[in-house]
Point group: C3
Chain length 132, copies 3
Amino acid sequence: MNKIAINTTKRTEFIDITSRIEKIVKESKVKEGLCVVFCPHTTAGLTINENADPTVQKDIIEHISELVSPGKNFLHSEGNSNAHIKSSLLGSSLNVIIDGGSLALGTWQGIYFYEFDGPRERQVYVQVIGKL
Amino acid sequence: MNKIAINTTKRTEFIDITSRIEKIVKESKVKEGLCVVFCPHTTAGLTINENADPTVQKDIIEHISELVSPGKNFLHSEGNSNAHIKSSLLGSSLNVIIDGGSLALGTWQGIYFYEFDGPRERQVYVQVIGKL
Amino acid sequence: MNKIAINTTKRTEFIDITSRIEKIVKESKVKEGLCVVFCPHTTAGLTINENADPTVQKDIIEHISELVSPGKNFLHSEGNSNAHIKSSLLGSSLNVIIDGGSLALGTWQGIYFYEFDGPRERQVYVQVIGKL
């Protein structure tokens, strides 16, 4: 298993980790298989979305923050229940197929660490499975 | 890696791809393992849900479209931010376990390509991992 | 493939299945790989979230039930369309990396079966892939 260290700088943001994951896949020398990316935190998540126009990320962040508003009267006393709810909605792990030794992403896809309760020091775990 | 071509015909719809994925699993001859289904688009997704009563799909489509309404004032200029948001909420990939050479789905489960911004020509990537 | 039997006791609840999955991983003797957990039901799901303060689970259950309210006028006649919608939003499967023979979870993470339409008798499928 590989680990990626990430320092987030805002309460909520997208951090592009595509090239760091691609590097791990290349170094593994796996040609056909699967790359699993896992977020070991309960107030952050992972998502794949558009890597071109940055307004897409802003629209996603803004809309999901409206769906799960922090201002609500939650029971959990740390004031970050909205971040936990986003983590369950977005999910803790991603799969990307490895084909010909590379991540088989679509043209417009990037892999993002999605911070819901930053700024914090975070990690992402990466496992590569398959045939050399 | 295998590819499935899909032509969607509506702005938003479910396309049942279960039998096409089952066929790929059979042809792989893998008996015990994992089938990974991946959507390489950022305005579509994948989901597993009921394969019996078609009103379930209609209720899912309608409710998720209400949660992420297209009418809102988004920043992204292409007018499909709601489709990108749905893609992050629903997810870009699915796992199904392979057991005894078949997909280990529940009785009422089908695998669906979920179009959020059609009609378009789409693809799905399928990777089969495991023991022959 | 392994199966876990679960009896849920409420309409909506979290059931902690972490130790049962960890036991399956240990018995498999796989040291480096992937554990796939799959829910074969269309009115339940799986999620990873905080294992410490139980109010987090209550806040997640309550908020997601508000986002997908059962009181709405759905087409599907069984009265559980909200459970099907939650199933698509939360997802039918989870990946956890296996590292050093154990589940590579974060300190505060537990794996939960998430019942949306109980009480019912349920199952979870578990597949372990990797190197002994």
